[in-house]
Every structure is written in C-alpha cells, then in structure tokens.
C-alpha cells in the first residue's frame, strides 16, 4: 500500500476544478490550506512524528523508564534480536492462528448470513440490526465479560455447550486450557466481527444489477450455476475488502484479547501487540520494542500492499 498504483481505483477520483480562482484577497490555494492545514498538521504531530521517532528509537538501546541514561546507537542489533527471538516467533504464530481462523469463520458465516438476508424475508431489517449490535460494543468490556461467560463452573458458555453435548460443564476450561484458549479468542472475535463482513457482503450483493440474473435466466443457467458464476465473482471484490480490513485489525489486535485471556495461559494467546506492550511498558525495553513495532508495521503494510494488488486484479476482471 505504498505506491499510488496500488491504491484502489475509487480512491483516486479526480478533484473537480475550484469554483472561483480568487475571491476577496485570499487566493484559492491559500484558502485551501486554511481548510486542510489543521488536519495535516495534527496528523503530522500525532502520527508521523511518533512513527519517525519509533524508527529512530529502534536503532538505540533507550529505556523509557530511565531518564538519565545515555542513549547509545546500536545499529541493527535490536532488529537482529527481534528476528531471532523465540518469544516473538511464538507471538507471530499465535497472531497468524488468530488472524487466519477469524477470517475463515467470519467470511463463511458473514457471507452466508448476507446471502440469506438478501432473500428479504419479513423482518430482515430488524434482525440485521440485532446481528450488527456486537461490533458497536467496546472490545475491552466485551473481552472482560466473556471471561465470565467462559468460567468452567458458573459460566453460561460452558453450561450451554455442556447441555448441548452432554458433557460436564466443569470438565473443560476455555481460557485456562492451552489447547482451547486460542479457540476461545477466535470465538469471541467471530461473535463480535462477523456482522462487519456480513454488512460488506450485503453491500456487494445489493450492487449486482438485476439484468445479469435476467440474462442468466434466459440462458437457462441453473440456480447453482448462477450462484457460482454471478453472485460469488461479483461479491468477491467486496469480500476481499472486508478480509483486508479484518486482517489489518486482527493483526494489531490488543484490547479484546488482553481482557479475555491476558495472553495466557502461559503465552499461547500472546498476540504480537500483547507481546509488544509487555516489552515496551512492563519490561521497558524501549529500543528493542520499537524495532519489533517497526517489524510489525512493515509486515502489515507489506502483506496489505501485496493483497491490494491482488484485489485490483480481481476488480479488473
């Protein structure tokens, strides 16, 4: 997502020419900066400047909890250590598991729901609103409360699963078990964010013009064939966009999982951001964690830009 060619086509809509070239003293160009300047300044101060600072810190051995220590330039040593650190590889693996499974589940469930809602049964708008509610909530509060639902003895989740499967609700522990905890966070994220994928798919389904189906109907294409040759390809760009957003969001996931499992048990659900927070704000290894932050950042942007290229190809088809 670094070069202009990879920007989705809709983004580069040309700006129409100004209304009047000069009005009362201030030229249009100067006026434009009066309008746009404050926003750019704020973003430079609170986004770009800190980012550049992070890059600088990543080459030093600075520790934010020790004011007076001399800051030493250590070159690429932090990066070397980040890339060879087992903890970080484990965090990346946990993140990959989380990102891949949430996307798979959210795409499957979200698309299916959108497709069903598009059948426009009675009351579909009302039920759509109900489904959308979880994504409006605070992830931290949601995560916190799901720990309650996941309690082995008293939690509702265990009671329901126990009732449905006939097992003892006290016999399994979603967030205390090394094998189950990675799935516990996947379940909550899926509960919370499937509606997002669903909405984007719904927008895609509604954008398919009726005449395409009419033409297929005249050609006597079966419903199955219509689904695979019209519906799926036409929704695909939308679906891929939803995947992009969910992928970026979940790659930097922090609040929901911190409150849900705190990275535990052990560190099986310690996602990249959680590991980063621990290094930066608990161990105060500022330089080292800055290097990790930059590695993460480059990974996200790298993957995202490759992905956007693929997305643009799909759109062109």
């Amino acid at each position: 997502m670094t070069d202009k060619a990879s920007v989705p086509e809709r983004m580069v809509r040309a700006t129409p020419p100004g209304v009047a070239r000069t009005v009362r003293g201030l030229s249009d160009r100067a006026l434009a900066w009066v309008f746009i300047g404050p926003t750019i300044l704020l973003l430079l101060a609170i986004n770009i400047f800190p980012l550049l600072w992070t890059i600088y810190l990543s080459f030093t051995n600075y520790r934010a909890n020790r004011f007076n220590r001399d800051v030493e330039w250590v070159g690429l040593r932090n990066y070397e250590r980040v890339l060879t650190d087992d903890d970080i590889w484990q965090a990346m693996q946990a993140t990959a598991h989380f990102v891949v499974w949430t996307i798979v589940l959210q795409v499957l469930i979200g698309f299916t729901l959108a497709w069903l809602i598009n059948a426009k049964f009675r009351g579909s708008n009302f039920w759509t609103t109900i489904i959308v509610l979880p994504m409006m909530l605070s992830p931290a509060v949601v995560g916190n409360f799901w720990t309650f639902l996941y309690q082995p003895q008293i939690g509702l989740f265990n009671a329901v699963v126990g009732f449905l499967t006939g097992t003892d609700p006290a016999s399994f522990e979603m967030i205390g078990d090394v094998d189950l905890a990675p799935w516990a966070i996947v379940i909550v994220d899926t509960w919370m964010w499937t509606p997002f994928v669903m909405l984007i798919c719904l927008a895609g389904l509604r954008s398919i013009p009726a005449y395409v189906y009419e033409a297929a109907e005249i050609d006597r294409a079966s419903a199955w064939r219509q689904f695979w040759t019209i519906t799926v390809p036409m929704v695909l760009p939308f679906l891929m966009l939803a995947v992009l957003f969910r992928g970026i969001e979940n790659f930097k996931m922090f609040d929901l999982v911190v409150q849900l499992t705190g990275g535990g048990p052990g560190s099986v659900t310690e996602l990249a951001s959680i590991n980063l927070k621990r290094e930066a704000f608990e161990k105060w290894r500022t330089g080292y964690s800055s290097a990790f932050a930059i590695v993460l950042f480059v990974t996200v942007f790298g993957l995202a830009s490759i992905y956007v290229k693929a997305l643009n190809k799909v759109k062109e088809r």
Binding site: P17, A32, L43, I131, V141, F196, Y213
Partner: protein
C-alpha cells in the same frame, strides 16, 4: 436468490432464510442479555452453579458500582441506627457501610468529556478538510487523501511509545486534552473520507450562487454547505463517538488516573474475593446502553456509513 433475480425467492426459501438468520441473531443476543441480567443479580446468584436463569432481581450491583464500601462489625452497624436510604440498606445487609462515591462516576465523566471533545474536534477539522479537498484544486489531493487514510492502518502500539514520551515531555500525559487530541488524530481519517463523500454530493452551484451574491468563501461554506451536509456530519459524528467511547489500548497505556476512561476501569471493579461481577455487569450495561441506543435509532445511517466507508476505501 434475491430481489435481483427474475424469479423472486419462493416462500419456502424465505422461510428457511428467516429461520437461520433469526436463530443466529438470537444466539448473538445471548451474551448481551446475560450481561444485563447479571447486573441485577446478587453476587452469589451471579456465580451460582448451574447459572441461574430465574432469580430475585436486585440493584445491589448498581449500588456497589457507584459506591465505595467498608466492612463494619455488627456493633458498629448497631450504633449507626437505621439506614437512611435503599443503597445503605442494601450494603448493610452485607455487613458494610458506604464510605463514599466510587471512581466509576469520574471515569464515566472522563469518557463523556474525551468522547464528545474528540468527536467535536474531529468533525470541525474533518469537515473543513473534506470541504477543502472537495472544492479546491489542492496539489497532490489523491496522495494527501491516501496519506490521511494510511494513518488509520498504523497499529496503536507502534506509535504508543513515542506518544508516551512526547506527552511526558509536553505534560500532556494523563490529561483530557492529550487524549482528545490523540483520539481526534485517530478518527480524523474516517471523518475526512466519509465527509468528503457527503460534500461531493452537494451540488456546487449552490455555493457559486452564494459567491455571486457577494458571500465570502467562509460565509458560503457556513451558510450553504454546512446545512446541506448536516445529516452526513451527524452520522460521521456517531462513528467518531463510538470509536472514542470504546477505545482501550491508548487509554490503558497513556492514562493512569486523572483522564482514564471507563473501558480500562470496568474490568477492575473488585468486590469481596475477586471481581464483583454484578457491579462489573452494571458498569458494562451503563456503558453499552448509549451505543446500543444510537445503533438502533440511527441504524440506517450507521449501516450506510459502514458500507459506504468500506466501499470507498
């Protein structure tokens, strides 16, 4: 398959679709309903095994949420005489007395100040910038718009360390102003993108007429464009507010007391022997309700905003 199809879905297809969707929606609702119910349980009902569906409702959780209590011996309670209000009565049943207000009120107020403050600022700056991009010939418009969008893709933790250092130097850490500026910076990308879409849709002839009538640029913007963009501004504002309301990572890293919002605070409400779940649930309910109400009342605008934003990006 849909209204797009020549053959409308048959009654049976609609029935099946309806049942599946309603079933999913009901499952979705369960955790939210459970939070709200738990807020009206006693601590022992909340942690009973198996989970209780039928219980005697109480506002104990809410009383615990808003007060700080201390344990008292029966003799001490005896000396105090009868309870003066229902809140004292409830805690007295547990052998406690109320010693003051809890910090939930403060935190909730901080959420309101920071949420509305940053929303206001995002909307002011965002509307100006969106107007600028929409109406003027700005050099490198597309690059600037993309730059603005890309700031949203940054992981918060990647910039949290220098922001922490910067705020410490400027004296902005743990202040309302610092958090308002930060949330504004995070929200502004969305605000500019959504608002530019809305302003692009307003015909520029309106302003041209106003300019010919002798209005200045600002007057034309203020008196002609703003009223036209009101709905778009309102729905963008709700998005910004929901984000600032729900944000956790920056709040937990950059605030410690003075400017801390409710999301980092709610999970820390401790009762006797661990988390006081009814109080936590009461706090969560109070905190979630505004957003739930917004969502239901403004669902058309919100849903449009989400898909609109996504499709444009």
């Amino acid at each position: 398959m849909s209204a797009n199809s020549v053959t409308e879905p048959t009654g049976r297809v609609k029935w099946i679709a309806g049942i599946v969707v309603v079933g999913y929606a009901l499952v979705t609702l369960v955790p939210m309903v459970w939070i709200m119910l738990t807020g009206f349980k006693t601590p022992s009902d909340a942690i009973s095994y198996p989970p209780k569906l039928v219980f005697q409702p109480t506002v104990e959780g809410y009383v615990n949420l808003f007060t700080t209590r201390t344990r008292a011996t029966p003799e001490q309670l005896e000396e105090l005489g009868p309870a003066e209000n229902f809140a004292q009565e409830i805690v007295r049943e547990r052998g406690m007395v109320i010693v003051g207000a809890s910090r939930f009120g403060e935190r909730f107020l901080n959420s309101i100040i920071i949420g509305f403050g940053s929303t206001f600022l995002s909307i002011v700056l965002g509307t100006l910038a969106a107007y600028g991009f929409s109406r003027f010939k700005v050099p490198l418009t597309d690059d600037l718009m993309f730059f603005i969008l890309s700031t949203r893709m940054m992981p918060p933790i990647a910039v949290a360390i220098p922001i922490f250092l910067m705020y410490r130097t400027l004296g902005l850490s743990d202040t309302h102003l610092g958090m308002i500026l930060l949330y504004t910076a995070v929200n502004i990308s969305l605000a500019v993108w959504l608002l530019k879409g809305f302003i692009d849709e307003i015909p520029r002839e309106y302003e041209e007429a106003a300019l010919i009538d002798g209005y200045t640029r600002f007057q034309a913007f203020w008196k002609v464009v703003l009223p036209q963009a009101a709905t778009g501004i309102a729905s963008t504002a709700i998005f910004c507010l929901i984000f600032a309301w729900n944000e956790y990572a920056f709040a937990v890293l950059l605030t410690s007391g003075n400017a801390q919002t409710a999301p980092p605070f709610i999970p820390t409400i401790i009762g006797v022997g661990g988390l006081d779940w009814p109080a936590v649930a009461a706090g969560a309910t109070i905190f979630l309700l505004p957003v739930l109400i917004f969502t239901v009342v403004l669902r058309k605008h919100l849903l449009r905003g989400i898909t609109f934003g996504a499709v444009r990006k």
